[in-house]
Amino acid sequence: MHPGPPLPPAAARLTRRRALALGLAAGGLGLAAPVLAGCAAGSADDGPDPLIPLVTRARADADLVTAAITADPSLTARLDPLRSARTDHADALEKEIARVAGTATPVPAPAPATPQAAADLEAVRRAVADAAREAAGLVSSVPTARAGLVGSVAACCAAYTAVLGAPQTS
């Protein structure tokens, strides 16, 4: 009857009111806790790019999935999308690293896969849970230009952790 705006709802006509409060009152999103000062997101660092370990882990995870599927081809349907996702993550992270470096700096290949105790579903589940934790741990400290990417990687890995942690088939 009243055709509204198409999805996604545009944020164009938003109230633009200054946020005056510096010390935030108890926030609905849990903003009340004191904030760590100092580790300001957005500061440039001199050391190696902090995204490099995420690339290495993503590539290693893709290799682990390949090994798990080789060992048990019945896992293909469940794990192949994860292999694609981790490859997407590595590619997107490398692109971001290159953007900041101003040059395509190849990320060192993952150390030759240490012979896995077992490249099975449980190993994959643990690996992707670790990946979710590692990326989530970086989300607070990376510059704004990177927070979305790192957050997406973390959210994707967390979702796979949830799915793989609840076996649907025996």
Binding site: G4, P9, A19, L29, V35, A85, S152, A158
Partner: protein, 149 residues
Amino acid sequence: MSVPIDDEAVNALQGALAAEHAALWTYTLILAFVPDDQAAVARQDIAGHRTLRSQIEQTLTDVGARPVSAQPAYATPVPVTDALSAGRLAVTAEADALAAWRSVLEHTTNQQLRVAALKALSEGTVRASRWRAATGTAPTIPSLPGIVR
């Protein structure tokens, strides 16, 4: 001192709130079209979105901004006529919400807000994956949630 919720962050939060309003409208609409098992999922999703909506509204109020209101109605990309089109609308609504939450991440350096936005992004990815699975949308879990494809 904490990093303030500045105008940029407020605008991103308003975008997330608008997406939450739209998602709630969507789920209310599709309840009538989906089978019972999916309706049960939709009700859980409604609860999740309601929680996020009230959290954003509280946060915006706390920093002196007026939370955006819901639209009376929203245009759907395609008419909802059956369970499949209803599920697809849920996929769309969740994708929009994911994009909005990802945008919050990209528009604040406030660590608490980053953590809250990541939580919303992660929970939303799981919600989205259920509707993507129900509608045969591949991949079930998007590689980079919040990026519109």
